[in-house]
């Protein structure tokens, strides 16, 4: 028998995406065409195998539970650091407008540059010291 039914048509039949008339035509065709009947059986078997794989549940590792916490912690720390640096930079802008730089301003600016390179804990400590000595 010379069958002109396309494999995609059989797959649409399995997906239930054919309209009613197409479905009736194919139902009738399958009764007569052994080639399409076999093809459809193979596709059904494939679907069965694929469903078995889906049902073979994925194991979710425990590390998955801590990802959200890590993301929030890391991004908040970064944002916090950036905010602190920008606050200090803004508060030191007035140094630019002092006509003659005295040793104090040079020292404070140098110390700020130095602190910028240090870790955030050392940075916080240094900042507190400056506030104690020069601002408060």
């Amino acid at each position: 028998m010379n069958c002109k039914i396309d494999n995609d048509f059989l797959q649409q039949y399995l997906d239930n995406t054919l309209d009613r008339l197409e479905k009736i035509i194919l139902d009738e065709h399958i009764k007569k065409c052994s080639k399409c009947k076999t093809e459809l059986t193979h596709l059904k078997l494939l679907m069965y195998e694929l469903n078995s794989i889906v049902n073979d549940e994925i194991e979710f590792p425990t590390e998955l539970n801590s990802i959200a916490e890590n993301i929030i912690e890391n991004l908040n720390t970064k944002n916090g650091n950036n905010e602190k640096i920008s606050i200090i930079k803004t508060s030191l802008i007035f140094f630019k407008f002092i006509p003659q730089k005295n040793p104090l301003t040079i020292t404070v600016q140098k110390s700020f540059n130095f602190m910028n390179k240090l870790s955030i804990s050392t940075f916080n400590f240094g900042f507190k010291q400056i506030r104690k000595r020069f601002i408060l």
Binding site: Q11, T38, L43, L46, L64, I72
Partner: protein, 186 residues
């Protein structure tokens, strides 16, 4: 937008951390399972899940609140997985080999049915590895994550027809391979 999406957005507006945590609870397994089916590696999937949720966290402020969250997350997941695969193609092949060996070791201890199941599963996974990345991703989203054709089309920015063609093509290849390997006694 459904109730879950609304709750997430309302909570996020009040408190970024709590909103993000709720979003993470709702979608982390969905994202991880796509990554795992795609990479076949626990480590890669964890890295990818982290990368995806960092992107989500950074862009949640700009999220269009009139849209649903899941398709947006699917889109980020698909793009991140496809980009990742270019970077780690070689590493992925090695881990797949290890996975196959591990599964074969497990299958020695199991019943005959279990062996057949793992054989079929391995053949399908090996065959998927050989497929072009887009075809593979479309197939995984459809068959393993149960997304509809239109959801896949919007997640991957592909026409609906292309999605269907790729899935039909992948099914044909898998069916032919399983037949050749004699998995089905038909």
């Amino acid at each position: 937008m459904n109730i879950d999406d609304k709750n997430i957005i309302i909570l996020y507006k009040k408190n970024n951390t709590k909103g993000f945590n709720l979003l993470y609870q709702n979608f982390n397994k969905h994202v991880y399972s796509i990554c795992y089916r795609y990479t076949n590696s626990k480590e890669d999937s964890l890295d990818l899940t982290q990368e995806i949720f960092i992107k989500i966290y950074k862009s949640l402020n700009n999220f269009d609140k009139t849209k649903r969250i899941k398709p947006w997350i699917n889109k980020i997941t698909v793009n991140t997985c496809l980009n990742h695969i270019c970077r780690t193609k070689k590493k992925k092949t090695e881990s797949l080999d290890e996975n196959i060996i591990n599964k074969k070791i497990i299958s020695n201890e199991s019943t005959e049915n279990k062996i057949m199941f793992f054989d079929t599963k391995n053949i399908i996974e090996e065959e998927l590895e050989k497929m072009p990345e887009l075809v593979k991703m479309v197939f995984i989203l459809r068959h393993f994550n149960k997304l509809s054709y239109s959801e896949i089309a919007s997640s991957m920015s592909l026409p609906l027809g292309t999605v269907k063609t790729n899935i039909y093509k992948a099914r044909r290849i898998l069916k032919d391979t399983l037949l050749k390997k004699g998995i089905w006694e038909v």
